[in-house]
């Protein structure tokens, strides 16, 4: 990744140099346009190196050792690929990955479905649609800390509103089930909260996609006698697809490293049913202080997300070029 970054930087330096007006470049004596451009972006590069690239490289280095951050005086041994080996064969890690996959899949699925549907409705421009858009956006504007605590109350079996609403529709006793305390329900409780909070975000992106389809395309389709159904499938959906895919990418990356909401709602429990990868990582790194081991896990997660995102972006570009 470091290499990719620097080539991007180099390209932007060239671009900046090319864009510098001739008058300005002449007035800075003794420096070529390129050199000036480098001076301008140097602070950013240094900052990036210091807080992003350097720690990353350091983590890679630590991942090959048995370093423990709470025992600074202990002898650090090089263990080669042992950390990686142990992670990939550790059943707990695989459970955490499964929990993460479950969480990522269902949040994306629900948020895309509901978000697109809402965007589609809002795009009809019914009366008061601006007002409803604002209302729908509220959850997204709240802090995750507030949302987490707020939903803890809603999920309270005795006094929580959520259980009462479920009771209202199903007739089950409110205190007969615990959203956060039950092994079966806890993963879904988190999916529900994340969906509640982030569907508006997906809706916004989908709305941008729908608004980008010019009216005259629909007019042409109407004259060509396409039914509403066909207009949706052969115009609306394909033309909004790049935007939908972008929303999926953003939510996917975000939820792959989900930490705050899970910590606030269940802390990974009950048992380890909601222990997603980032929670496991935090436990290994800052509770068990296995710094080398957790560095290796972080690198694996990083490579996985980075690889998946890259494949996905390629697909996205193909869709856009179609």
């Amino acid at each position: 990744m470091a290499q990719a970054k620097s080539s991007i930087l180099e390209r932007s330096a060239d671009k900046a140099a090319a864009l510098t007006p001739a008058r300005m470049s002449r007035s800075i004596k003794g420096l070529s346009d390129r050199a000036v451009a480098w001076w301008f972006i140097a602070p950013t590069i240094i900052l990036l190196l210091a807080i992003n690239i350097f720690p990353l490289i350091w983590a890679v280095k630590l991942s090959f050792t048995n370093y423990k951050a709470n025992r600074l005086n202990a002898v650090v041994k090089d263990v080669g690929l042992r950390n990686y080996e142990r992670i990939l064969t550790d059943p707990d890690i695989w459970l955490a990955m499964q929990a993460t996959a479950h969480f990522v899949f269902w949040t994306i699925f629900l948020q895309t479905l509901i978000g697109f549907a809402l965007a589609y409705l809002i795009d009809r421009k019914f009366r008061g649609h601006a007002f409803w858009t604002t209302i729908i956006l509220i959850p997204m504007m709240l802090s995750p800390a507030v949302v987490g605590n707020f939903w803890r109350f809603l999920y309270q079996p005795q006094i929580g509103l959520f259980n009462y609403i479920v009771t209202f529709f199903t007739g089950a006793e409110p205190s007969s089930f615990q959203m956060l305390g039950s092994v079966d329900l806890a993963p879904w409780a988190i999916v529900i909260v994340d969906t509640w909070m982030w569907t508006p975000y997906v809706m916004l992106i989908c709305l941008a996609g729908l608004r980008s389809i010019p009216d005259y395309i629909y007019e042409a389709a109407e004259v060509d006698r396409a039914s509403n159904w066909r207009r949706f499938w052969s115009i609306t959906l394909p033309m909004a697809l790049p935007f939908i895919m972008l929303a999926v990418l953003f939510r996917g990356i975000e939820n792959f490293k989900m930490f705050d909401m899970v910590t606030l709602l269940t802390g990974g429990g009950p048992g380890s049913t909601t222990e997603v990868a980032s929670i496991t990582l935090k436990r290994e790194a800052f509770e068990k202080w296995r710094t080398g081991y957790s560095s290796a896990f972080a690198i694996i997660l990083f490579v996985a997300v980075f690889g998946l995102a890259n494949i996905y972006v390629k697909a996205l570009n193909r869709v856009k070029q179609r």
């Binding site: 005259y216 395309i217 007019e219 042409a220 389709a221 109407e222 004259v223 060509d224 006698r225 396409a226 039914s227 066909r230 052969s234 115009i235 394909p238 033309m239 070029q321 179609r322």
Partner: protein, 359 residues
């Protein structure tokens, strides 16, 4: 194919009155061209027929049926939009096939494909069938748009400046081709253009729109030779008709109510004063000079400028402060110089009153 009628249709956009009390009857199989300055309401008229705009007043009949409130898909029209309106995410082939995939057609894939290829050849886009429709030049997009209209056999074709961004040669080819297709199919076609040659050669009748009103409707010859007012007279003719205030020039013998005289460029003859004098027999410079009709205009003008166009020259003349344009042979500049004085004489002048109406 069907006949189309508008009955005193009006359409406003906010404060702008785009169409006022427009009535027009287009017979089955007729080719009608709408001419008019920009903003006259030509596109709006087509959109009203297609059902993309709902009239504020009036009725739209297609095939004898009242379609005023019907949706576009119920009207069975095909439309070439001024801004092309191709489906950007589809290939040229899929764009052309799109209208055929409507359940109203009930064609199988083989039939659709055959039809698409036939039409693609017709509009000369068959070499780009698998391009994305956004990866085309403006002229190519326009041909796809025409093709997408032609794949169907609708009640009426509506075409909004369909040849405007093609080069002269292709435009000529497609003009002939379109007319041929229209005749062959017996298609009803309403066509908007700014191009006089298209209007004159293709139209059965030409309708002149101005300010949302239909000023005159008639055969190309009627419109050209017998315009109802100045506006219509100025629509046709290259260069545009010369307009002179009757009072301004001594010696003009005009009907009583006339205040403006219109002389088409081909009716303005020029003679060389050097060789003939003002009263001698005409020595034609531009072309053979027929006898003038009672010399409605018979005076001296200064030659300001000669524009060489290849097959002909345009002579810019001035009589006092009034400017005139006429045509001359391709080699006229060897005989007269800008600044020299010429004798001009008009034939077949048209006269208009203060309000611009014919007298």
């Amino acid at each position: 194919m069907a006949d189309v009628s508008l009955r005193s249709v009006s359409k406003r956009f906010g404060k702008v009155s785009a169409i006022t009390e427009l009535s027009i009857d287009i017979a089955d199989g007729e080719f009608v061209v709408l001419l008019g300055p920009t903003g006259a309401g030509k596109s709006t008229t087509l959109r009203l027929i297609a059902g993309l705009e709902k009239p504020d007043q009036g009725t739209v009949f297609i095939g004898g049926q009242d379609m005023t409130t019907s949706a576009p898909s119920q009207r069975d029209v095909s439309f070439v939009f001024q801004q092309y309106s191709l489906y950007p995410h589809l290939s040229v082939r899929d764009n052309l096939a799109f209208p055929l995939k409507s359940p109203a057609h009930d064609l199988n894939a083989v039939q659709i494909n055959a039809r698409v290829e036939y039409v693609a050849q017709l509009v000369q886009i068959d070499h780009k069938l698998d391009n994305r429709s956004t990866a085309l030049s403006g002229g190519e997009m326009q041909r796809v748009a025409i093709g997408r209209a032609l794949v169907r056999d609708p009640a009426i074709f509506l075409m909004d400046e369909p040849l405007s961004s093609l080069d002269a040669k292709l435009r000529g080819d497609l003009r002939v081709e379109l007319k041929r297709i229209q005749t062959e199919l017996g298609a009803t076609l309403l066509y908007v253009t700014h191009d006089q040659i298209e209007a004159m050669t293709m139209a059965d009748r030409i309708g002149i729109l101005n300010d949302g009103q239909l000023v005159q409707l008639g055969t190309p010859r009627e419109i050209y030779e017998n315009p109802l007012n100045i506006h219509v007279a100025a629509r046709l003719g290259q260069p545009t008709i010369n307009l002179l205030p009757v009072q301004a020039i001594a010696g003009i013998k005009a009907p009583d109510l006339a205040s403006i005289m219109g002389i088409r460029t081909e009716h303005l003859d020029v003679m060389d004063t050097q060789t003939t004098g003002t009263s001698g027999a005409p020595d034609a410079i531009g072309r053979d000079l027929p006898q003038s009709d009672a010399s409605a205009l018979d005076t001296v003008a200064k030659l300001d400028r000669v524009e060489f166009l290849g097959d002909q020259n345009r002579l810019h003349l001035s009589i006092g402060e009034h400017r005139l344009v006429t045509l001359g042979d391709g080699d006229i500049e060897y005989r007269v110089q800008p600044g020299s004085t010429l004798h001009v004489r008009a034939r077949n002048a048209l006269y208009f009153d203060e309000a611009g109406n014919r007298v």
